[in-house]
Amino acid sequence: MKSNIKQGLFFLLIAVVMISLIFIIVSYFHRPAIKIGVMHSLSGTMAVSEKGVVDAVLLAVDEINQQGGLMGRKIKAVVRDGESSPRIFTEIAKALIEKDEVEAIFGCWTSSCRKAVLPVIEKNNHLLYYPLQYEGMELSKNVIYLGEVPNQQVLPALEWTFSEIGKRIYLIGSDYIYPRATNQVIKDQVEKWRGEIVGESYVPLGEKNFSSVVEDIRRVMPDAIFNTINGDSNLSFFKALRESNIYPKSVPTFSFSIAEDELSLFADVDMDGDFLVWNYLSDSNNHINQEFKKRFTEKYGAMSRIGNPMVTAYLGVHLWAKAVRMARTSEVEEVLKYTSDISIQGPGGMIYVEKNTHHTWKPIHIAQIDKNKQLRSVWFSKVPIAPQPFPQSRSEKEWKAFVDEF
């Protein structure tokens, strides 16, 4: 009798354990997906630049899901169109956080967008991965700034220009914070290095008429033009330059907001001899890049070019995934502790997110465009350049005051 009871209890214990195990296994494989927000302009003046970035983010999501997701959960991207409007981006950010309950947001291109969205992100103690090069002069513990700041893009170009081309610089940009602030950095440095700013012009976003600007350039004939125009206005600008017989051989242009993938839009424009400055060049001969391009092509078909912002956005997703794995949770508050002081191997080199500033260290190419719109690196930093969100020409306080004033 005693032994029967014992046996019964034993089998009961086994049954309980088995049922628990089955329950745990089923729960594990049917856990809800982790949602992330993707907000970029799929319409409007910025769409031409931002669509590729969305594709790159979705590729990263697919790759992570194919490897089993994060902690057994798939990632689901919630994609929203900001329509090139900072106001709409703000609304989208709120909705992604409050309604869709995403665990991280990947988005924005222009600084106007980022500035508009930042208060929402910070108020909710959320997380934004911002993939674009920008003017710097900002720090937020809720933002990972994946793109280059002026000392990583503009200043190496300026130094190279001073040595190889000349010291008379013309500045042209879209009229919003990024070009204005970046140009101020350039002006400070040109003064320090005893160069000369021979002209400075700003045009509204979406502008198509550059006749007066080009006339001004023609009048002063600088050694080089530093261009921070954003969006499809660039096409109009370069067409206007060529129509006025201003060619790279006499006045080369360094463009800081034209990504490599956008060069296909300039098919009818002679860009042979102009320059771009990026961390990533699509023809980089390393196996990481080759594999990345192969996967991109398999997903999206034959692409003419992959641009730097696409790669940084792609890496942003992987950086976030790495932080989630380290935190062992996707909850934003925990992940925030692991988003910085980490490195990741990317198609353009190793990228490191700095702890104190949330900006990235990365190497840089100065690349010249040839007649086939291919890029050739004329200078490569080889080593990662440390980001200086607040350029050393002024104090942090002075830069903040400059931005606030603007």
């Binding site: 040595s163 980490i342 490195s343 080593v383």
Partner: protein, 739 residues
Amino acid sequence: MYEIEAGKNQILHAENNEKKLSERIAIRVRNISLLLLILLTIMSMGIYFKVITENHNNAQQVLDAITKSIGDKTLEIEKLVRKVEPVVEQISQDIASGRLDIDKIEERLQKDLKENAWMYGLGLAFEPKSSPDSPRLFSRYFVIEDDNTVVERPIKYDYTQFEYTWYRKPLLEGNTWSEPFYGQASKRLITEFGIPFWLPGKDKDRDAPSGVIFGNLSIDKLKKLIQFEHETIAYYFVLSRQGRYIVHPDEELILTGGTIFESAWQAEDSTLNSMAIHAVAGEKGYVSHINPMTQEKSWMIYQPMAGLGWAAVVIVDQERTLDEDNLRRQWFLLIFLLTTWLVLSIIVIFFSFSAPLKHSLFASILASLIIFAGVGGFWTVAEYYPLQESVDEIKVMSGNVLNDFTNRQKQTANERFIEQPRFVKTGVYLQSIEFQGANNVKISGYVWQHYKKGEHKGVSRGLVFPEAETPLMQQVYRELADPSDPACSLKKIEDYDCEELIGWYVFATLRQEFDYSLYPLDSQQVWLRMWHQDFKKHVILIPDLESYFLPNPELTPGVQDGFVLPGWKMEESWFSFHNEKFSTNFGSKRANGLINKPELLYNVKIRREFLTPFVSRIIPVLLILIIMFLIVLISTKSSKAADWLGFSASNVVIGLSALFFVVGINHSELRQSLESSRIMYFEYFYFVIYVMLLYVAVSSIYIAKHEAIQGRDENFISKTLYWPALSSVLFFVTIWVFY
């Protein structure tokens, strides 16, 4: 019938009594085991935490010690480097003020260089067309050679090009230390301090500089100061502000301008990349690192060398921060506790069932397997943390230790009023090792020596290998520093005074005593003992460390890559000194420095591969033990069963004798092949077999002799305790030998 019934009842009653007794015993054993289990669990937790804390403290102490020594060293170097700045600044000021005329710049540069001979070069370079009377570019650059002569090195390239940051950066940024670079004019790796200068009459605030004044240091000279010593250090390197290797065991990385970021990229090592960024950012700290290729764990300690924006990075083997002997003991203790815990658990579980003795055989086999697994665990630990024998030697694989040694030798010579020692740098490159018997080993490879002019005048060239039987030494190369030196062709040795490098191919059989007491988990140290040919003179051989790119013993410097030694694997190689005490002066009263003369040894540590002895020796032993167990199983008093099984005591004894014969020959062969003067660990396996052979023989005779008792398993104790007893003996013997 009643009597038969009564008899049956009596037997049943006796059986019941016995059953109750054995159950009571089983319950008692179970209860005691349960109590021991609880005590063991509590004890294990305590020991575990103590061990973790101890290891962490040890590691922390080592890290702190190394961090401090790096800090001290970096201060030293920074002080030296900073001395360049005032020299260069003064020239710039003197030019600007007119105190120094550009026409006299040549004299000034040479004078300053002679007065600051610790520098390497000093010069100035003009901006295009800035110089008063020159073509487009004008520069003057002087360097100080090793013999303290100052010579001019013309700069024959366009230094205004973008790539020449030593010129461009000071013009843009002001006073700047350049990234170390391989100077085209200097023909060596240098680091340079440059400042812009203005000619008289120019305004610093308004006018562009007239050019750059620069002073530099040779990285080679700095390298000699940058030496970090600690037994746990695997290697170290120094990085420039941009992550370029300035000092690194692999010279190739330095010469090719390699950077740590390239290394991180190639190795896909994100931890290394992150650490590098911390280091070049001027931070200090340490990170735990696992090499993605070798999976080796290390600490990377980084510290800024603030004056130059450089960073020193020291790689510390994590295993080495812990005392290996201590670690081995901790692991042994852990395995012992775990094995005991598991065995007690089995007793508790199986003895909790009703009729516990029913499952006793199964339980005993399970317990034995666990104990054998414990033995396997001990073997693994013993392989990983081998027993270290203390050897009377001075291990020398770094410049500092070598310098200490040579200084001590000079001091000793002073104290004993004997001639100063003459040191001859000697290097070894081994290409093959082959064991010939237990105590003979054949080696081949290259040996070379450097002889200096003056210091080695009258010293004959060559060396001897005292332990070698008929060594073959063939000179294969000879490089003269100055082929035209007549002293190189003199025949009389007393006058011979040639600066040269001589290399020999060596082939020798060495007779050495090896210790096989830990066979098959032994490691052996093969050494090449070297004396100078003039062993009666006070000539001391020292290792030529500069000829080895990676002098870390674990990287086996001086051993050919792809070295093949069947049955063994290479572990370490290093140079050492051993003090040889001679009891004779070899008949010469002029035999100076013979007493306590240090001799140079080149050592190679090899570890036996476990697979071969496991297959050739342990498996047969195991099979023999299994066969004996089968004999125990089939031993029975029942005549029916005995017929069927073919069991008889005599058959058993005959079979066991055959087994003994086989084992005995195996044992004897092992002894003869290894010629060990001590009992080898593996021999204990044979001893156990001998005891078991005897026991099984006696047991089978006992069973055959006595009457069977119905219902009673006559061989119960032998069957149940055979494997546990065997495994326990091996368990404790292993602890005793390796602990």
